[in-house]
């Protein structure tokens, strides 16, 4: 966490204000919703999305009052998707704590997620900028498509890189790209500048998700805050698996393991071992590096201010993170 705090130091004070405003905004009347919203807020989280929005705004006409609702809405949308993801995956823990669905059940989790989604839109609508709303709406639809495709294609061991990219673009990259894009848009950047930051966020999002998928195989579950091997159990084909299926001498066994629906813990461990042995992790890391480089390549066109350095460091942090 320390390294991340360091890269966000440009906007630390404003991120603190975002946090406080989120707490205020989610202090709602309904006693259950008030508890579930606060439970989610207190679960922590990296708050990377508001960070991206604020840092992107720094290059232009930075107006915190205008950026605040956008940053809050994007974080709330992210929270809502995590709550629903945990219902979809039947996850029991997140960030080392019971998930909302484990603690309160699916009905309350889904309703809380929907309520948060509405609260996020309430924030966005307040800005009264139809273009900002449209951008967010488009991303919400695509996120839905990506998640649906992920479930549709689970246990399908014939997936390729392109299909994987389709999913992770929608699942993660579009929202991070949007955080940067809206930060720039609200701060009156021109078209080219908006494109540069949007591309940066998009590439970083792709890299972020690949790293997430790598960590699901290689991380220390205590540091990660949840058990590893979740994707293998749920049949979600990630990039290390796709490479292992393609290049490993043990590919027929990997295929058999990944295709199987109800795996024993021993089989999950065996799959992890074979994927690590296949070189799939290293190949995936190369793709991470490619996206990080692609993302930061055009940043040099933007003013040389501390935020530029922060965005570059953030990209490196995403690539190297262990949680």
């Amino acid at each position: 966490m320390h390294q991340q705090k360091k890269v966000f130091k440009e906007v630390t004070i404003d991120l603190g204000k975002v946090e406080k405003e989120l707490e205020k905004f989610l202090r709602v009347d309904d006693p259950i919703l008030a508890q579930t919203c606060i439970y989610l807020l207190k679960a922590g989280g990296k708050r990377m999305r508001p960070g991206f929005t604020l840092l992107s705004g720094k290059f232009f006409d930075y107006n915190f009052e205008k950026l605040l609702p956008v940053a809050m809405a994007l974080e709330i949308i992210h929270m809502a998707t995590l709550v629903h993801d945990d219902v979809v995956d039947a996850s029991l823990t997140r960030r080392g704590r019971p998930t909302l669905s484990a603690a309160w059940g699916n009905s309350v989790s889904v309703a809380t997620g929907d309520f948060l989604f509405a609260k996020a839109l309430e924030m966005i609508v307040k800005i009264d900028n139809i273009e900002v709303s449209k951008e967010l709406a488009k991303v919400c639809i695509q996120m839905g498509r990506g998640e649906i495709q992920q479930i549709k294609s689970s246990y399908d061991v014939d997936q390729d890189f392109k299909q994987y990219l389709y999913r992770i673009k929608r699942k993660t990259a579009l929202l991070i790209g949007l955080c940067c894009k809206l930060g720039a848009m609200v701060s009156r950047a021109d078209k080219r500048q908006i494109w540069i930051l949007s591309t940066y966020g998009h590439c970083l999002g792709i890299a972020f998700q690949i790293v997430d998928d790598i960590l699901d195989i290689t991380a220390d579950s205590k540091i990660l805050g949840k058990p590893i091997g979740g994707d293998i159990r749920q049949g979600i084909m990630t990039l290390p698996m796709i490479y292992a299926l393609k290049y490993s001498p043990d590919q027929s066994r990997i295929r058999e393991l990944l295709h199987k629906k109800n795996k024993t813990e021993g089989e999950v461990e065996e799959a992890i071992y074979l994927i690590k042995k296949s070189g799939g992790i290293e190949k995936s890391r190369k793709i991470v590096d490619l996206y990080i480089e692609k993302g930061i390549k055009n940043l040099k066109e933007l003013p040389d201010i501390p935020s530029r350095k922060a965005l570059i460091e953030l990209a490196r942090f995403v690539a190297e993170r262990s949680y």
């Binding site: 219902v87 979809v88 309703a111 839109l121 609508v125 709406a137 839905g144 498509r145």
Partner: protein, 254 residues
């Protein structure tokens, strides 16, 4: 069940718009998720908006969009509620969450149309209200629910949305404020009767709100050409298989 004849072509447009917008990489919504719908589930929300639109025959395209939006909100919420069922299959649980989310996204995208964006706030607030209702139902799930509590729940979960459909459709149709209010009351009553009929817990609520709905229609009939709304009411009463009381109400309409 007879459909409302005067809106047949618009209703078909709503259906094809929804079918087109809910296509997922070579699968349709129905192929991904088993979700049974009766005639009211399929048509009631679009029918509210379209019949109100027929009163003035203005803004046909906006009405069709508005009708789709209300159907999306209703569908998203109903599909999300599939997770409440015990022993729900894993795939049903997963698709119900994700398809519901997708439909909420689609709702917001359509609201971002120039002509409808001014109503975005009201949609957002009604989605909040619906979920407050869901949570209230959950809170009372192991208790005996009084008619009063039950009415609050269905008012939030369903009637708030039918009321908004009435209000916005009346606004889009360009009706004056007092008429908007009556139509809103009519639609709220329809929502209450519909939800109470579905669960069959308090039949008195069904009758109470049907009578209210009829009264609101009567109050409008001398000032507005409400034939489309009367047809809609007939369609609704048929949909909930109303007994003699319902038939009596209809005799006055036909």
């Amino acid at each position: 069940m007879a459909l409302v004849n005067c809106i047949e072509s618009e209703l078909n447009e709503v259906k094809s718009q929804i079918a087109k917008e809910t296509q997922f990489k070579s699968s349709s919504l129905e192929e991904l998720l088993e979700y049974e719908m009766n005639g009211l589930d399929r048509h009631l929300f679009p029918a509210i908006v379209l019949t109100i639109g027929k009163i003035t025959e203005d803004n046909r395209e906006v009405n069709i969009s508005l009708a789709s939006i209300f159907q999306y909100v209703f569908l998203a919420h109903s599909i999300h509620r599939l997770v409440d069922k015990e022993d729900v299959k894993a795939s049903t649980r997963q698709y119900s969450v994700l398809i519901g989310d997708f439909l909420f996204g689609q709702t917001f995208y359509k609201i971002c149309d120039e002509s409808l964006y001014k109503y975005a706030w009201e949609f957002v607030k009604v989605i909040e209200t619906i979920n407050e209702g869901v949570i209230m139902r959950w809170r009372l799930k192991d208790k005996t629910m009084s008619a009063k509590d039950y009415s609050i729940i269905i008012s939030k979960e369903r009637a708030a949305l039918t009321r908004l459909a009435g209000r916005l459709a009346a606004k889009v149709a360009g009706l004056k404020e007092p008429y908007q209010q009556r139509i809103e009351d009519f639609c709220y009553s329809i929502g209450m009767a519909w939800a109470a009929w579905e669960e069959n817990i308090y039949t008195s609520i069904v009758h109470e709100y049907l009578i209210n709905a009829k009264r609101y229609l009567d109050e409008l009939k001398d000032s507005l050409p409400i034939r489309p709304l009367q047809e809609f009411f007939y369609f609704f009463c048929q949909g909930i298989n109303q007994d003699i009381k319902g038939e009596e109400l209809l005799l006055n309409i036909k």
